[in-house]
Amino acid sequence: MENLALIAQVQSYTAIALGLIIGLGAIGACIGIGIMGSKFLEAAARQPELIPTLQGRMFLLAGLIDAAFLIGVALAMFFAFANPLLARFG
């Protein structure tokens, strides 16, 4: 019975952690993408002839910005479905 309470405690803390990982990561990635997108549009409006050069770099940076967030999501999913901290209780 004591074990059950411990498992529930680990699960609840894990659930909170998942929310924090995904939520904070999403905030960061969204702000980053937003700033980059707005700057790209501004630059494209000022100098339309630069669009092809800038577009490739924008996608590259979008991938880089997204990456940290997606690594966080992968970690969160891993903890959601195969929680190594719970495995200790066997």
């Binding site: 996608f59 590259l60 979008a62 991938g63 880089l64 997204d66 990456a67 940290a68 997606l70 690594i71 966080g72 999501v73 992968a74 970690l75 999913m77 891993f78 479905f81 195969a82």
Partner: protein
């Protein structure tokens, strides 16, 4: 994946995340990852080899034109960043791009298809996406790491490289050797780790989202209203995520390739 119904969603996902493993502990080998990556490597070589064999100076066929666009694109990308002799780096960048792209593209196969095919041969675990295995991405990024160091040594000489490691950011005063070296070490080691984790994280997360979407329709054959909605949801969300994922797999292959070139270019620059 061998045909029997999974008992719960957690079991389904855990099953799909299990590699076909030979050996124990440190010496365990993920056979599915090895097989798929080597197979796709051979496919890469065969595709590009066939294009180069059949290349004509006259009117090119569709396949030849496509490969020429690809080679041109990557050669230009390398040329913009890396200013020395690129006879080694440009082909390596092409190999990395095509190979990583094909390995990532295995994510777009229907989720249960590779497992079902493997099940026909009596194999119960089969993960089809080699880049969703941290071993593949670290193997590639460590290889890139070795290449980067080789470029640095080639450009500066072994002595020059060592000299730079101990004197680069702050200066050549003996008191600053240790801080310099620590800083350089962190910079050096963060490259392969971030390169590998970025690709792995993206592919692993993508695969997991596909699994979650697949679970939506899992209870369809109970024929309730909720399960029908779930199946429609699976079709809609699966299509949306797959289309978005086409962008991601190309982007990640491109990023891996570009960062390899950028790191190599950084290593050859003199301070």
């Amino acid at each position: 994946m061998a045909g029997e119904a999974p008992e719960s969603s957690t079991a389904y996902i855990t099953h799909h995340l299990t590699h076909l493993t030979v050996g124990k502990g440190f010496w365990s080998l993920h056979v599915d990852t090895m097989f798929m990556s080597v197979l796709l490597g051979i496919v890469t070589l065969a595709l590009l080899y066939s294009a180069s064999r059949k290349a004509t100076p006259g009117v090119p066929g569709k396949w030849q034109a496509f490969v020429e666009i690809l080679v041109d694109f990557i050669d230009n990308t390398v040329k913009e960043v890396f200013h020395l002799d690129r006879r080694f780096l440009a082909p390596m960048a092409l190999t990395i791009f095509v190979w990583v792209f094909l390995m990532n593209a295995m994510d777009l196969l229907p989720l249960d298809l590779p497992g079902k095919v493997a099940g026909l041969f009596g194999i119960h675990y089969w993960r089809a996406v080699p880049t969703a295995d941290v071993n593949t991405t670290f193997a590639m990024s460590l290889t890139v790491f070795v290449v980067v160091i080789a470029f640095a040594v080639k450009a500066k000489g072994a002595g020059g490289y060592m000299h730079e490691l101990f004197t680069a950011p702050f200066g050549a005063h003996p008191l600053l050797w240790i801080p310099n070296f620590v800083l350089n070490l962190v910079e050096l080691l963060s490259k392969p780790v971030s390169l590998a984790m970025r690709l792995f994280g993206n592919m692993y997360a993508g695969e997991l989202v596909f699994m979650l979407i697949a679970l939506l329709g899992a209870s369809f054959f109970t024929f309730t209203v909720g399960s029908t909605v779930g199946m429609l949801g699976q079709v809609a969300m699966g299509a949306a995520w797959a289309i978005f994922h086409i962008l991601i797999i190309t982007l990640q292959a491109y990023i891996f390739m570009v960062l390899t070139v950028v790191y190599s270019a950084m290593a050859t620059e003199h301070h």
